[in-house]
Subunit: 341 residues, 4 copies
């Protein structure tokens, strides 16, 4: 069976495993107070060119979204997101569970537009009744989106501009950020993201970490007593070192960048193979997730040798499936895929 169904079905990137192994018997302070965590934090701030940023490491994506949103919103505030945003659709209501409404806006391949956000904010404040409504307190976007799409620098700057004019933070979910940074035509790099957002996270799990996401509060805006609130959410690891050691390595010798590039090179090959075989795509995705339109009759045959994710119904006769390359995909995998198809 060939595995392209997602980007988290293998363990950990060999270089991270190597350093976890090498440091294993070092005696280090618990709860994220170790030197590796400190060093990883420094390296990320340097990579982002944000000396005033604050970095905190958490375990997984839903947890990170929940903790960041909960600690940055006032109780009377909710968060604006695309209908397809991970927090709106696939986190089992983790945001509402801790007390905040997710208000949704239409999307294009998972992306919000500054125009839609602005209109929503204007309408809110124009409503005489808005004291009886949920205040919009944050804009949440994902980059790449859940459909693998990317914002351009211009689009992100426009979103940032709207958020700033309403004094609400812009939060970028970068669960797959590395695959976005490595895209051929992107003009968004880490320093630009750090400049334009108020908080974002650099995804680890889907980029080859065992566990781990690095939250960056871009301008000294980490909520007060953040550490205690992380503990209160059950999200503080005794062996925080695991997160620090891996991210220290991710930001050594450009590993994080290289992993993204490798996966995207293979995604291009995969795209080529599928096109050659006559498959059509849901849209032209620039990142590691590719969405292919398949006749329903073919799905079962395809599934015999190829593991994919069913994404959504396309029409009565076709289904959109997702194929993803990742940090663990090999050239051999791609070559075998070619043979199978």
């Amino acid at each position: 069976m060939l595995h392209f169904e997602n980007d988290y079905n293998e363990g950990v990137h060999p270089k991270l495993l190597e350093v976890l192994t090498k440091t294993n018997t070092e005696n280090l302070a618990g709860y994220g107070l170790d030197s590796y965590t400190e060093r990883a934090s420094q390296k990320i701030k340097e990579a982002c060119q944000t000396p005033n940023a604050q970095v905190f490491f958490l375990t997984g994506g839903t947890q990170t979204n929940q903790v960041v949103i909960d600690t940055m919103l006032a109780p009377y505030e909710g968060v604006l997101a695309a209908e397809t945003g991970h927090i709106a659709a696939h986190e089992a209501g983790a945001i509402e569970y801790i007390g905040h409404k997710v208000s949704t806006l239409p999307h294009k391949n998972g992306k919000l537009t500054a125009g839609d956000v602005k209109e929503s904010l204007e309408n809110f404040y124009a409503d005489d009744n808005h004291e009886h409504m949920v205040y919009p307190g944050m804009v949440y976007i994902s980059h790449p989106t859940e459909y693998g799409a990317l914002y351009s620098k211009k689009e992100l700057a426009e979103l940032a501009q709207v958020c700033r004019s309403y004094a609400i933070p812009l939060f970028l979910d970068g669960a797959r950020l590395g695959y976005g940074l490595a895209a051929k035509d992107t003009d968004l790099d880490l320093p630009t993201i750090a400049e334009l957002t108020d908080v974002f996270y650099i995804g680890g799990t889907k980029m080859g970490a065992l566990i781990g996401e690095a939250v960056v509060f871009t301008h000294g805006n980490m909520p007060k007593r953040f550490n205690t609130m992380v503990k209160q959410h059950g999200a503080l690891l005794a062996k925080g070192r695991i997160l620090g050691i891996q991210f220290d390595q991710f930001f050594t010798d450009n590993l994080y960048e290289e992993i993204g590039k490798g996966a995207l090179r293979l995604a291009e090959q995969l795209k080529g193979i599928l096109k050659d075989k006559g498959y059509s795509f849901f849209y032209e995705s620039p990142t590691n997730q590719q969405f292919v339109i398949v006749e329903n009759g073919q799905l079962e045959i395809l599934g015999e040798k190829l593991a994919y994710s069913s994404w959504e119904k396309y029409d009565d006769n076709h289904t959109v499936i997702r194929l993803a390359t990742s940090w663990s995909t090999t050239q051999e995998d791609i070559d075998q895929l070619k043979e199978i198809l």
Copy 2:
């Protein structure tokens, strides 16, 4: 100034005031354990023809929605509602605040259709990924809706049928129920509502009570330790008698019914006057809330003598305004309105 802006701007219906006054010095048990509360409960069960029902009195609409939804949902469940549903739009996120997602569906004058609800439920369970999503745990409707519209018996029965087939409760918000029951062409009476829903409330505040809403758990399905959970929500009144005494009176000599009828008779007159003057209506509302389309230029002039509620933008030149009759509207008010216009 003539007041038609809403149905809660005067104090209390004279008959309720009379009985509150008459019973004022009686010494009664606190926290809803008094004999009036017991009697009101009995009368409501009789009016609903539901001997197995359980009745509980709360203070206001948002509180009632919050307490009912919170105590009936499992933690992993959310509630389905129309986009315009009060819980979705105008309760400051009270449902999310206590941990539950409100998932919205399209509406027609505030009404949901059984078809849309069914499709939403089918799609949920058809999604392979639904374990990572919020389980639909209740359907919330308002009757009359926020636009004054009414469900027919057939429509409510279809909604009930869908809910039962998925084993989730149907909750009817009756903040203005009396104005619905009194409508000319409605085929929904209390016994039918009690039969078709799992829980609903009989609105008091907007029908002439000082405060008070009567929640009916229609078939012995009041959540365990409900009283304690009401206390925990800060919603248990020391002088619960106030609620019991008023509802006892509402259900004496058909007062509740008569109040509704009176307000609707005046609403018909109001409608006639406006039509005669050439106003057009947003839609043909069968209850006490009337939605009138007014040229923007006229709004200010109108507002000098008439208090109304701005509802929503109709088009660039027109606005929808709401005029409401109520338990406190008099024939004189209507006559003066005629003169003004």
Copy 3:
């Protein structure tokens, strides 16, 4: 049956009923935006001699405690209270339900000492591990306490001093405040309470209101968007006028003060009668709640003609019962009590 079991078993003070009746048909803005609410607020600020205070009216005691504590604490903070504090013991976990720990300290007749509070705060910050603990974010006291006891000005000033040195608010629950202000030997009046606390409430329900408690944020420290958060808690009344009208009257011609004095005059008589009959007291209570030690064998006989509250076990043969005078107690009640005993 003679009723001394509590102070909320009759309806509403005649003067409040009169004004509710008189204003009943006035058309007033909803949700606390009416002129009576505004006027009541002004009068309270004058009575407190705090021009910068902000006043907000809520329905009942548990609701008030829940809303005030929830909106004033940061998420990582809890509240310090006496073991016997209402929030710790008798509110069904309403504080924990909305996310905050109640940490308890020992008490004397329901009172905290500044020394105990200070020691608790010192110990907290001295603990190396306090980042993994609940930050003390407020001190809650009741005045009179649940045992009817009163703080002296000196004691309250000392508590205030500790709170200020740790920059945490001091919250005084005044559910029975009127009975405290009227005590013979108290040196705490409204201006002093307003000066020494950060937030407190003037209890209405137990002083003769139908419903209603007046929260005073003493120095312009009402939390931002408080109104929206009250709505979010399901605690905003459509007919907020009820609260404003009653408190406007409470603070007209010293009514609130007079009610307190009347009840305490009768409490002194009650105390005298009981002492004459040889009863002993749990302690010398200066307010309307009197705690009497009764032989268990006598309880049933006493209960035949006199309604009292069982308070707690005194020893194997005795029980502490509570007898309360109130705004509704009459001289006749006291005279009959004398006869019965």
Copy 4:
């Protein structure tokens, strides 16, 4: 520097690292649906001799306590714990944060007695007012306790008996369970614990796992939709395999047991060395955590070469410190300690 300050300052046990490495490139289903997790679950059920048990793997101790307690309690229920219980003292209010009160009882070296629990439950139900109080819905104990103490089989059986008679679950926090199971004189083994408790967890992090705790619902009593609720808490790992692989190995060739035994053998040596040097102990701890009474003057000197945890003040001149052996302590560490002292 010699490290005895805690049991989580090194990475992962070599045998676990070996198997994580060996399985690293296997392609496995995400979110705990992999074969290792299934196998680990089976092995744990066998070790517990509970074919009807259900096992779920979570990340760390606070998270586990939070998720288990939140999903097993009704909203109106709280949990009984020792004053020193981890949930009461050192989890930053994680239990209150999700809505539940922790009611505390006195302890002996961290242990509750069945008598105290029973008395507390009896008093609760004897109180006429208990509908306005937090229902006791669970008993939480830790084994070993935070002081390293152990329950005997008899003591645990008595606690279980009380819990059963009140139909509330008994939850055993086994963050350091392996060190308890390996104690010389304990009569509590896994099958007995599984028989007597309703839910417990087998600690991984402090026993040598990178991350990971195995929750055992002992009799098919895992809450409905538990997986979704774990997701909702932000506690579901994409690479759940990490937990499964490690626990599969823990329960292969008695590794978990052997790790415990090894640490306790060294703890005995440590105890001997300290006694020889004239130190006295806070109490005779049977497990890996040893509590030593040290003169304050000596603390600094000791701290130069030895890392310990400050535990609590003993008297004005002495402090209790904790020294812990663990899965990572070596004979060499102990030998060096002997030299230092």
